[in-house]
């Protein structure tokens, strides 16, 4: 649809602030969430992007961002955000920008950086009380390089580096690691629960200091499902209790959406190629029961 088409039909269109035309895969759950987040955080931001799928958002000379964007190496996006914050502070103190021209540093990384390579720089930034928002799109693997396992890969998931029986580790609890630093705000979210996500973005924006939005990003390419099922799978991640929606602020953790009756975990698993080995050629009842138990155990500790 070109400008001419719009002119011909005489219709106005409401375009989303974040531009289309990105190289993200069709059906990308991370991009779907980022659109909603960007609608609220807006362009008075400097996005500091660690290496990952979303590095490809801005490939010279194209960018979907109406606001600023900076690329850093994989392990140091929060350090980049510190530099941006310091530079803005210098400009403010010298009167070269007015207070209303100030911008918010927003770190944008995948789980490889957030859970693993960049965790040290993140921890240090929280220690320093850096005033920034961290958005992690968690697709549970190194998605941009062929989906090798990361510290965010769930138990049993096949990846390029756990091809036979799936990942033998456990998904790292980044929410608790962040919360233990006592930052301003930590929340898990998902793009397929837009109301919950929007409320958390607004809450994060109302606070100052280190803030994390940890967003599960259903990944058709890495998880092995038809792109059309992205929303269905995202909703199942919540309804099975696999992805608990919760937030931390003022020293307390609250669950924001407790599934009243949890759907069986295998309803979520069997839709994804990365868990196919649990069902064919023979159903692996022991492993399926163990994965269900992981989830049941988590919720048994929640009031």
């Amino acid at each position: 649809m070109s400008e001419q088409d719009v002119a011909r039909t005489g219709k106005k269109r409401r375009q989303s602030p974040l531009g289309a035309g990105t190289p993200m895969c069709a059906g990308c759950g991370g991009l779907q969430a980022l659109h909603q987040i960007y609608d609220l955080v807006g362009d008075k931001t400097v996005f500091v992007n660690a290496a990952g799928c979303m590095t490809l958002l801005s490939i010279y000379p194209f960018t979907p961002f109406p606001g600023s964007w900076l690329y850093t190496a994989m392990a140091c996006a929060p350090a980049g955000a510190q530099g941006v914050r310091d530079a803005l502070d210098v400009l403010l103190s010298k009167g070269r920008i007015r207070p209303e021209q100030d911008q918010l540093p927003v770190v944008l990384t995948g789980d490889g950086s957030a859970y693993g390579m960049g965790l040290s720089a993140t921890s240090a930034a929280i220690d320093r009380g850096l005033d920034f928002l961290y958005i992690c799109y968690d697709n549970e693997g190194y998605g941009n390089t062929g989906h090798q396992y990361s510290a965010a890969t769930p138990t049993g998931a096949r990846t390029a580096t756990s091809r036979v029986d799936g990942y033998s580790g456990v998904k790292k609890d980044l929410f608790t690691i962040w919360s233990a630093h006592r930052p301003a705000y930590v929340a898990t979210a998902i793009g397929t629960e837009p109301a919950d996500l929007a409320r958390k973005v607004k809450k994060a924006l109302s606070l100052r200091g280190p803030r994390l939005l940890l967003v599960l990003a259903p990944c058709p390419t890495g998880w092995g499902f038809e792109p059309a099922r992205m929303v269905e799978i995202g909703k199942l991640a919540v309804r099975t209790g696999i992805w608990p929606l919760k937030e931390y602020s003022d020293g307390a953790v609250q669950h924001t959406m407790v599934p009243s009756k949890r759907v069986a975990v295998e309803d979520y698993l069997h839709l994804q190629g990365r868990f196919r080995h649990l069902f064919v050629p023979v159903r692996n009842d022991d492993k399926l029961a163990a994965l269900q138990l992981q989830v049941d155990d988590y919720w048994s500790h929640i009031d």
């Binding site: 649809m1 106005k12 269109r13 289309a20 990308c28």
Partner: protein
Amino acid sequence: MYRIRFHGRGGQGIKTASRILGTALFLEGFEVQDAPRYGAERRGAPIFAYVRADDAPIHERGVIHRPDLVVVADDTLLTITPAQVLEGIASASVVLIYSVRSESWWRQQFPQIGQMVVLRPDRGTGVGLPAGIFCAGAAAALLGTVSREALVKAVEEELAAHDSALVESNRQAVLAAYEAVSVSHGMVHSGVPQPVAKTAAPAWIDVSRDAVDIAAPVIHAGTTSRLVKTGLWRTRRPVIDKEKCRRCLQCCAWCPEGGILVGEDGFPMIDYEHCKGCLVCVAQCPFKAIRAIPEAQAKEERDAQASDRQ
């Protein structure tokens, strides 16, 4: 030197096909290069992969501009200019098209193609397997220098990480395709050397060295990504039925691209220049007001409308 260029879409196994062919040639004693082109290696996006094979060490690098064999795993790419499927073909070049359409139909469409082989999808063997594996088998037969044994061994090596049932179905598929084009066995001829001295100067403009604040890749305009037409990735398009649409606009929220806009009449409008065809909107519409149609059908309907207007 054989120069083979693969064209397909992300998800069709094009990279794997090029690796299988490269490995098979290697097993036959050739010096081999094979590499996919990095870029938007995304599902549905046009994908390129290159294989070179020679008796002597290969000093050529990079993109193949003058192919001896072009393999087209998705025939819809032939009409998409940026996919550059027919770039640099000469009368000796062979174009292999994986298509349900007949060779005579394709010859009518593209009379400039000198030598053409059409591989029809096999209805018996390897149903559900991506096009790439069939293309690898047919390409091997067209070269005439790859034996069945080397081809099978290459499949087994490249798919070693997968379960035996999958390897077996791919083994059958690659052999079926190899047999299907057996009348054209050895049709592709090794191309002449292209020494660097004789290569045409590249079509770039030399830029003088600027200060780093000018020369660094800084983008000063926002949302320039809208100039990138990711609609090319689509093989099926969502179409909104305004009779059924209740204007709930859930589709706008679910669209990963932000590619569904709201018209002044309150109805959602799909931005076909950017819609990648994930079809999340079709799956999620609570009123079943969005259906998916093949792009080819959409093109036919557009053409019919255009001829009605004339």
